[in-house]
Subunit: 131 residues, 3 copies
Amino acid sequence: MIFEYSVKTDRAQQLVDVTAKVADAVKKSGKKEAHVLISVPHTTCAMTINENCDPAVPSDLLRRLEKIVPVHDPEDRHAEGNSAAHLKSSLVGFSVMMPVSDGGLLLGTWQGIYLCEFDGPRTRRLVVSII
Amino acid sequence: MIFEYSVKTDRAQQLVDVTAKVADAVKKSGKKEAHVLISVPHTTCAMTINENCDPAVPSDLLRRLEKIVPVHDPEDRHAEGNSAAHLKSSLVGFSVMMPVSDGGLLLGTWQGIYLCEFDGPRTRRLVVSII
Amino acid sequence: MIFEYSVKTDRAQQLVDVTAKVADAVKKSGKKEAHVLISVPHTTCAMTINENCDPAVPSDLLRRLEKIVPVHDPEDRHAEGNSAAHLKSSLVGFSVMMPVSDGGLLLGTWQGIYLCEFDGPRTRRLVVSII
């Protein structure tokens, strides 16, 4: 069972909390015990899980990641100029997965599900599939 | 089918081999052909697979990762001071998955399953679910 | 259902497009709606998804990643001298997963599936399992 959502990002780099969308897909599926895979069919954005309580966590994450993989690198050959976004996506990964238990996402108290925009703003596809 | 284990870490940063716990869950499930998802419901620890033969591999990993994502960064805004642990977790990832074949984990000769503590010591939850 | 392929790499570091192999496994499985897990039973190579249109993308990725995790580090203790490859593998990850819809891989327009060689050349095992 596959559900698809649209996520509009409004900055070049941004973490968007999509936990509610994933919970919505699980609810629509009617499944009580299952697994959910959340993936993005893109090459310059990614999926992760992280703290969704203090907004300083996503902003520290993006700032620190930018230090490690800076947007600009004079040696890049890719003409679109977004090789950093491609690498960030491969490092963070294109999907996350978790169990569904008693109809709810099996997430920790502080865990939220984030779509990571690394080359925005764009409209991104979020694919939520139930296993 | 979901199994949960407790993992006590005793250092600030540490790789703990949990392969035996995962194998135990697979055995208890009675499944011969399946898949196993190992995840942590936390935001400052992670899951990975790596060599479990030479103990220098996990220690080189942690030391090199610390160079890339150092604990201290004066620009961090997150008041708990553990933004590095949050980023390390997102880079390494919160779950690993592998096939179960003939009742055993389909792992390579040198592969072990590690819980990665990045903000310990703490007691962590290890969630092993069979698909 | 598990399919195994052999992938021969011919450089020390290389991204090998294995999308056709994965599509072949899905076709052989006869499954129309499913999920596919692609994993490597190794500790110095990894799996990722990224753009498979402009060959500058994989080469920029490898070059930038080498800057972040250089092969040589005088502090490494692991006698084999490939600790960088072990860390790169843990950062990129040992598996990717995606839905199968209407008998085809649910991939974006620009997405290809890559085996990442970080300590080659070697012959690597590619494990494709259908869920």
